[in-house]
């Protein structure tokens, strides 16, 4: 972002755009309301048809997140975006805004700059901005209310003040539920529940005080999944909570700001186009050299050890769409357990009563889906909570760092390890007195931040692991 002052706000809103990012499953009962079974995810209901080109246009131009900072205040601190932060196909003032921001004129005639989906769903890797790649460097550790106050510094005039106050009120409502322990992980799910707590499900009327019990204040962390996985997935999110009409779930991005059901209906008119665009995305190709002979050896290992869950790639492509029990995959269970232990059911009920879904929409399984691995080279850090910084350590659980920190300024992608450069640390957050340093530490001993499980390649030799890693680059 070229505006340090605003970027945290952007990220906040952005979290919204992710809003539906997964949830959980219910450990028990099949057939129970708002739960899905383990195993194969049935093909989704037929999705509403949409035009991918029109979907891209809407994605980067339409104000589906309709509250934000007055444009005049934004321009007091930010120049037009440099070329590498712009996207094609943007119209009006959007053409000169950073890709994660969208401009529109509100009902009072005030120009508003707000976050769009790409705040969390686009990222740069090797100098190229990739739409659909999860942003794994967003900072949700800060108090968003503080950031919003800062953004008010340059706001003036009655109409702009009213627009800012509206935005600030909404952020104040969700602020207690959005702060992650570590820079990079995303609080989208908790944020979504918090928004539901503040809205009447039928009218969508906002209430400054929660109407139902809000979620816990500490969000469980998630890594932002790549959008191109939706080409293959029958349900959305790690626990496959997103069933039915995917476009409806994507509409949750509007929940921070939407005023009423008519505004939502206007957004819903183009939501199927956005869904179609997302489902049309292809994974980016690995941009470095690949040792094809080594990769060929790795492909055999992949077929033997990985394909049953993650599918096959290349000419004979297949994807099983299977959710695995926590006891099977062994990765940090906190997220899926919270989703399916009944503690979130009031939010699934909210979805059922709202225009965002039906009684069958929010139905997590008590486990995690084995995701498609297209473009997996670009999606570090790994596991649903982003707890493993690169593929090399993912493939050998004994080497995964308990405490680590992204290497920044500049960040560096390391092809040899298929992940981001990082420092392995001797101690966790509890032993770091400086808050600014503490929040940079990924501490896998924290609740929900664990890096265990998925040990399926621990038995490989070093040579075999090199070969498997090389093959993964080709996906």
């Amino acid at each position: 972002m070229n505006c340090r002052l605003l970027s945290p706000i952007l990220l906040i809103c952005a979290a919204l755009s992710l809003a539906a990012c997964d949830d959980d499953s219910d450990a028990t009962a099949e057939g129970e309301a708002h739960r899905s079974a383990l195993g194969t995810v049935a093909a989704a209901v037929e999705q509403r048809p949409g035009n991918p080109d029109e979907g891209y246009r809407a994605l980067v131009n339409e104000p589906y997140v309709s509250c934000g900072i007055p444009y005049n205040a934004y321009r007091r601190v930010a120049d037009p975006a440099p070329q590498d932060l712009r996207l094609p196909g943007r119209t009006g003032l959007n053409a000169e805004l950073p890709y994660a921001l969208t401009h529109h004129i509100n009902a009072d005639g005030v120009g508003i700059v707000s976050n769009n989906c790409l705040t969390c769903h686009a990222a740069e890797i090797e100098g190229e901005l990739i739409v659909g790649l999860g942003n794994e460097f967003g900072d949700f550790t800060q108090d968003p209310s503080r950031t919003v106050l800062q953004s008010g510094t340059y706001v003036r005039g009655t109409a702009e003040t009213a627009a800012w106050q509206h935005f600030a009120d909404r952020i104040a409502g969700i602020a207690p539920y959005t702060r992650t322990a570590t820079v990079g992980v995303n609080p989208a799910t908790n944020l979504t529940w918090a928004l539901m707590a503040h809205r009447d499900p039928e009218t969508l009327a906002w209430s400054d005080t929660p109407l139902i019990d809000p979620p816990p204040t500490e969000p469980l962390p998630v890594s932002v999944p790549p959008w191109w996985g939706m080409r293959k997935k029958n349900a959305m999110f790690y626990t496959t909570i997103g069933r039915g009409d995917h476009a409806h779930f994507m509409l949750l991005a509007s929940m921070l700001c939407v005023e009423d059901t008519s505004e939502l209906a206007a957004i819903d008119a183009y939501a199927p186009d956005i869904r179609a665009f997302i489902a049309s995305l292809e994974a980016p190709a690995y941009p470095f050299a690949i040792d094809t002979a080594l990769a060929a050896r790795g492909e055999r290992l992949f077929a033997r050890d990985c394909a049953a869950c993650h599918g096959t790639y290349g000419a004979n492509e297949s994807y099983p769409n299977k959710v695995y029990a926590l006891s099977e995959v062994g990765t940090d269970p906190t997220y899926a357990t919270a989703a399916t232990d009944g503690s979130r059911d009031r939010f699934y009920e909210w979805v059922a009563r709202s225009p965002y879904g039906t009684a069958d929409s929010a139905a997590p399984a008590p486990g995690y889906i084995a995701p498609p691995l297209d473009g997996v080279w670009a999606t570090a850090p790994y596991l649903h909570n982003g707890s493993v910084p690169d593929m090399r350590t993912l493939l050998d659980s004994r080497t995964r760092p308990t405490y680590w920190r992204h290497r920044l300024a500049p960040r560096a992608y390391l092809p040899a390890d298929m992940g981001w450069a990082h420092d392995v640390l001797d101690q966790g957050q509890d032993n770091e007195p400086d808050p600014a340093a503490r929040r940079l530490i990924y501490d896998t001993t924290r609740r929900g931040y664990g890096n265990g499980g998925h040990t399926y390649s621990d038995h490989l030799s070093a040579d075999e692991r090199d070969a498997l890693l090389e093959y993964l680059k080709t996906l």
Binding site: C3, R146, T153, Y154, T161, A172, L408
Partner: protein, 389 residues
């Protein structure tokens, strides 16, 4: 994306001072709201019309071709003590905590702000042209006497009634001035000359700071500036045989660039504090003017280095309401943090000068504990945004 990985700060001091960005901007916002309000009150027409006129000037300013600072920046002193006419807005703010020879506590505040309306290039050589609004004030708090002396001035700056002279190293509004390039001394002291309610006031600030200058801005911030939190001051109040010698410490903030304008939705309570253990503390409490939402508190402790002080709370313990008013100014506070527990009380309650736009801005005493040891100090507290409905 770029921004997240770029750290254009030049070191820990700069990094820490980024926390002070809001605080320093605040000082400017205070001055500017006074400008706006002054204009409003000066018009014979209803206040709304006058405010609209002020807004018109501000809009003109926003359209004027002033440069917005951008990119890396290095503070250069003493040159940066002087004026930066290329900037849309510039402000010098001084808070001095002094004692008389008799031991009386005496607080002096001085602020001078230029609020650019048109650039020199836009107006050419016309000496009558409206180029800027200037606004200044002096506030003297006499603790022993329970007396407040205050005066404000404003000028459109035509015919050099207000302005700056880089060669002479001065900025002025009428006969109030700041000079910072007196020949002979190395470094030259900064000399403030003013009057308050007809009484001459001279302060000489030794610009060898006891704590290093903290640079603000740089990178994406649309302004530049610095704070000198602890300067030795000597001066006199009055003339001739009645001139009182004064001595003590001062805190100087100087900012320029695109600074906040009046009429916004955010208000501030700002404290600058000199503690007797040799440390200085800046605390800014930021809140919504409409009273909604949560206030935030940012604190910066300055000793050998500037350190952002997290987890500070600032809670009002008492209020003062002027007679005939319903405004409750929170003039007494408790500031608490992991290593800090301070209680602030006003030296006198009524430190609300009769300015065009009233604000409470006055001297406070502080006592409490820091790092387990007893500590006392004196400070200046400014409260804004309590007057608006």
């Amino acid at each position: 994306m770029r921004g997240e990985t770029e750290h254009r700060t030049t070191g820990p001091r700069r990094a820490a001072f980024e926390r002070l960005t809001g605080p320093l901007v605040l000082a400017l916002a205070l001055a500017l709201s006074a400008v706006c309000g002054t204009i409003a009150q000066a018009q014979p027409t209803p206040a709304e019309i006058a405010r609209a006129a002020a807004d018109g000037l501000i809009d003109a300013s926003l359209d004027a071709a002033f440069e917005r600072p951008a990119g890396p920046w290095t503070l250069t002193l003493p040159q940066d003590h002087g004026a930066h006419p290329e900037a849309r807005t510039e402000s010098w703010t001084l808070a001095a905590h002094l004692t008389t020879e008799a031991g009386e506590a005496l607080g002096i505040q001085f602020a001078l702000t230029r609020f650019g309306v048109r650039t020199l290039a836009e107006v050419g050589d016309d000496p009558w042209a409206l180029r800027a609004l200037h606004r200044a004030h002096v506030i003297v708090t006499r603790g022993a006497e329970g007396r407040l002396m205050a005066e404000e001035r404003y000028s459109r700056g035509a015919l050099d009634v207000a302005g700056h002279d880089p060669r002479a190293g001065t900025v002025w509004l009428e006969d109030w001035s700041i000079g910072f390039a007196s020949p002979g001394a190395t470094p030259a002291p900064m000399v403030l000359s003013a009057t308050v309610e007809g009484t001459p006031l001279t302060l000489t600030l030794t610009l060898t700071p006891q704590h290093e200058a903290l640079a603000a801005g740089g990178g994406d911030a649309p302004f530049r500036g610095y704070a000198l939190s602890r300067l030795a001051v000597e001066g006199t109040l009055g003339t001739g045989a009645e001139a009182e010698p004064l001595a003590g410490l001062a805190w100087l903030d100087h900012l320029w660039g695109d600074l906040p304008l009046p009429g916004g939705p955010v208000a501030y309570d700002r404290l600058v504090l000199h503690l007797d253990d040799g440390s200085d503390l800046s605390v800014v409490r930021t809140r919504r003017s409409d009273g909604r939402g949560e206030a935030t508190v940012d604190a910066l402790m300055i000793e050998d280095a500037a350190t952002a002080t997290p987890s500070i709370t600032m809670n009002a313990t008492d209020t003062w309401t002027p007679s005939g008013s319903e405004i409750a100014y929170p003039t007494a506070w408790r500031i608490e943090g992991p290593t800090l527990d301070l209680r602030l009380t006003p030296v006198i309650e009524n430190q609300r000068p009769a300015f065009a736009v009233p604000l409470w801005s006055g001297m406070v005493r502080v006592d409490g504990r820091r790092d387990g040891a007893p500590v006392t100090g004196t400070g200046t507290l400014q409260l804004t945004g309590y007057e608006d409905p």
